[in-house]
């Protein structure tokens, strides 16, 4: 009986250590390090490093918070990691060289962009099985999902398009031309706009998802920086749609954009080659991965200030944060 109690206490202690109650965990994919760095977002400290497959890039947490899924492109698969034990518990099928993906609102279906064969693969997460694919343009990358789950947007980097895909029929509804090398697509939470970043073109296209038209192009002008160095990639929009945060890659800055007027409000200096980021669920912090300086910048969303920099693994690429 004593042994049993001790074992229980041990397990509880283990759980308490790996996931202190109330704290969110941020998982950072390190593209060259082949690891995930785990950050406690209350203490803003690195608490663990998890070895994963080769070239981890796209990363997300399942809706129930149980698993973090990461695309390991050079292993042509997607790995699932238990968010409590930090063990790799399985893999999901994908096409060759998966890079980015997105869950549907139910959390049951994962839409994966496969860079090497111009397709989007649909995966049933529970059954861990591929259930279909959609042919898109050359080098699909960014994946966006409408809040009602009806429309998936995929950007193709060499075709320079945002493909609007009907989530029910898997048919392409429209192809919207944007500027060169579109990298990422993000819906506003009310579904009224899709923002698409063009890395080489240096712009954000704001697209009307009903009319399939570019209604506004956001451009960036930073004194003292060459226009070629301004390369928008990651986009994070607050739930109320009032603020947009755009990672500007080698410009080493995050642009803060008014979600209504689309004016740039501020540039926040972060680490080198800032790529993708994620909010904590309470939207208190935005964590962004700085690829070349091997660190993560923590932005305080209320004050729009960078409050901390955390050293992570080699070439950090993306961030995902647990919902609970």
């Amino acid at each position: 009986m004593r042994n049993h109690q001790a074992a229980c206490a041990g397990i509880l202690l283990l759980i308490a250590l790996t996931n202190p109650s109330g704290a969110y965990q941020a998982f950072v994919s390190n593209e060259k390090g082949n690891t995930l760095t785990v950050i406690d977002t209350d203490k803003l400290e690195v608490v663990d490093t998890i070895k994963v497959g080769q070239r981890p890039r796209g990363i997300a947490v399942t809706k129930d918070g149980k698993y973090v899924v990461v695309a390991v492109g050079d292993d042509d698969t997607v790995q699932m990691i238990d968010t409590k034990t930090h063990e790799i518990v399985g893999t999901l099928p994908s096409g060759p060289d998966p890079e980015l993906f997105i869950f549907d609102p139910t959390g049951r279906i994962l839409y994966i962009a496969n860079e090497n064969d111009n397709t989007v693969t649909l995966v049933d997460v529970e059954k861990r099985a591929a259930i279909g694919d959609v042919q898109v343009g050359v080098e699909p990358e960014g994946m966006g999902m409408s809040p009602d789950g009806k429309i998936v947007v995929c950007t193709s980097e060499t075709t320079n398009m945002a493909h609007f895909i009907d989530a029910g029929s898997h048919e392409i509804l429209a192809n919207v031309l944007v500027d060169s090398r579109p990298r990422f697509a993000e819906f506003k939470s009310d579904g009224s706009e899709v923002w698409v970043s063009s890395e080489v073109g240096g712009t954000i296209s704001v697209i009307d998802p009903v009319k399939h038209e570019v209604t506004k192009k956001i451009v960036f002008d930073i004194p003292g920086l060459r226009r070629e160095a301004i390369q928008p990639v990651g986009i994070n929009l607050t739930k109320d749609g009032k603020l947009g945060f755009v990672s500007l890659g080698p410009a080493n800055r995050i642009a803060v954009i008014d979600g209504t007027t689309h004016e740039v409000l501020k540039y926040l200096l972060v680490g080198q080659r800032v790529w993708h980021g994620a909010f904590t669920p309470d939207e208190k912090y935005l964590l962004v991965a700085n690829g070349v300086s091997n660190d993560v910048s923590v932005i305080d969303v209320a004050s729009l200030k960078v409050i901390k920099t955390l050293q992570v693994g080699t070439l950090p690429w993306g961030v995902a944060i647990t919902p609970n």
Binding site: V138, L177, V200
Partner: protein, 393 residues
């Protein structure tokens, strides 16, 4: 002597069954039938060097085109250098092909471009690096995708100066092209603060590059040729004719690195380039053609992608409209080089970073940090607007 290769597996633009609103973009590929010689077997170009780069771009363009009702097709023609390219050029026009990717030496390119001018044809130079084609001999209907000798030399010189290898032992070949390449390197040295401490000419005395016992002699010849040089940091070799430069590394009298035509070589592309998503393109190329992608392949890919971008954005196959778009601020080519490639509007040269390859990997990419420019740092490479002798007409 003409060898016409129709690319049957590509979209059949001759088919009359296509819907009326389909835009057919036909591209000609005109190249010399002469094969380049090389010292190293590794450097002998593949039979379809360049053409297969264009084919990959045609596949990329066609994927985009299927969403926009545009089809892309390529027709390749090889000519001998003693032939007048004008005949082939009018043949292209007679078949409704007005967009031409040209891999020709300077003189043949000028003849082809001048012959195509009256027919409204637009040429994309992917082979000739001669600066004169962008300067005194520039043409309004020739867009230059290949970098110039001056751009390549400046890209190399910036790195050598950054590395503090400022004292150059300079060896130049005896052929006219070697001298042009040598002049570009000398210009780069004086622009960026390197010093040529000794200059020697390597005379080509003839002979084959393939021999069974050649290395025995070379092992003795190169050390003595490079003997008694004043103190230097790096040997810079100018040898476009592939006569001696590849024999220099590891054989110089003094233990020094080699750059220029061997050792550290400036180029538009290299099979080992993997930054900025280039791995994706390298993978696509190897998958399609079972060989690695060369600089010529990349240049032809870029040319066909420029045509694709022009056709996609203007919804047209008209050379005038495509040229207009490529010269507009809206044009930006994403070519896996870390920044957009654009056209110099004063001489129609494509701005591009220059890769420095050590033969196995990319050592660096120029322009180097700190070489500044008031408009574009890419314009620190090659002749800039104020020095240009080009008057487009």
């Amino acid at each position: 002597m003409r060898i016409v290769v129709g690319l049957g597996f590509l979209l059949a633009w001759v088919s009359g069954s296509l819907a009326a609103d389909v835009t057919q973009v036909k591209i000609g590929y005109l190249r010399s039938a002469e094969q380049k010689v090389a010292i190293s077997l590794m450097d002998v170009p593949a039979e379809n060097d360049g053409v297969e780069g264009a084919k990959l771009a045609i596949a990329d363009n066609s994927t985009t085109g299927k969403f926009l009702n545009q089809t892309f097709a390529l027709e390749e023609v090889k000519i001998r250098l003693n032939e007048d390219p004008a005949v082939t050029v009018s043949g292209f026009a007679d078949h409704g092909i007005f967009l031409i990717i040209a891999d020709l030496p300077a003189e043949a390119l000028l003849k082809a471009a001048d012959a195509g001018r009256a027919r409204g044809m637009l040429f994309f130079n992917v082979g000739a690096t001669d600066d004169r084609l962008r300067e005194e001999d520039c043409r309004a209907n020739v867009i230059h995708v290949a970098p110039t000798r001056a751009m390549l030399a400046d890209g190399l010189a910036q790195y050598l100066v950054w590395k503090q290898w400022r004292k150059w032992f300079f060896v130049v070949g005896s052929h006219p092209d070697d001298r042009l390449w040598g002049d570009a390197l000398k210009r780069a040295a004086s622009r960026f603060g390197a010093k040529i401490v000794e200059e020697r000419v390597f005379q080509d005395t003839g002979g084959a590059r393939r021999t069974d016992s050649g290395i025995v002699q070379i092992q003795r010849q190169i050390p003595t040729f490079t003997q008694d040089a004043p103190s230097y940091d790096v040997l810079v070799a100018a040898d476009e004719s592939e006569v001696f430069a590849a024999y220099m590394p590891y054989r110089t009298w003094d233990p020094r690195p080699v750059a220029g035509s061997a050792g550290l070589v400036p180029t538009s592309w290299d099979p080992s380039h993997e930054q900025w998503g280039a791995t994706q393109m390298q993978n696509r190329f190897v998958h399609l053609f079972s060989r690695r992608m060369s600089a010529k392949d990349f240049q032809a890919w870029s040319a066909a992608r420029m045509i694709g971008e022009g056709a996609t954005r203007t919804r047209s196959a008209d050379p005038t409209r495509i040229r207009e778009f490529l010269l507009s601020p809206e044009f930006a080519l994403a070519a896996f080089k870390g920044q957009k490639l654009t056209l110099r509007d004063w001489n129609l040269q494509l701005r591009q970073p220059i890769l420095l390859s050590d033969g196995r990997n990319i050592a660096s990419v120029s322009p180097q940090e700190g070489f500044l420019h008031q408009f574009s740092e890419l314009d620190t490479l090659g002749y800039d607007r104020p020095e240009s002798k080009c008057r487009l007409q």
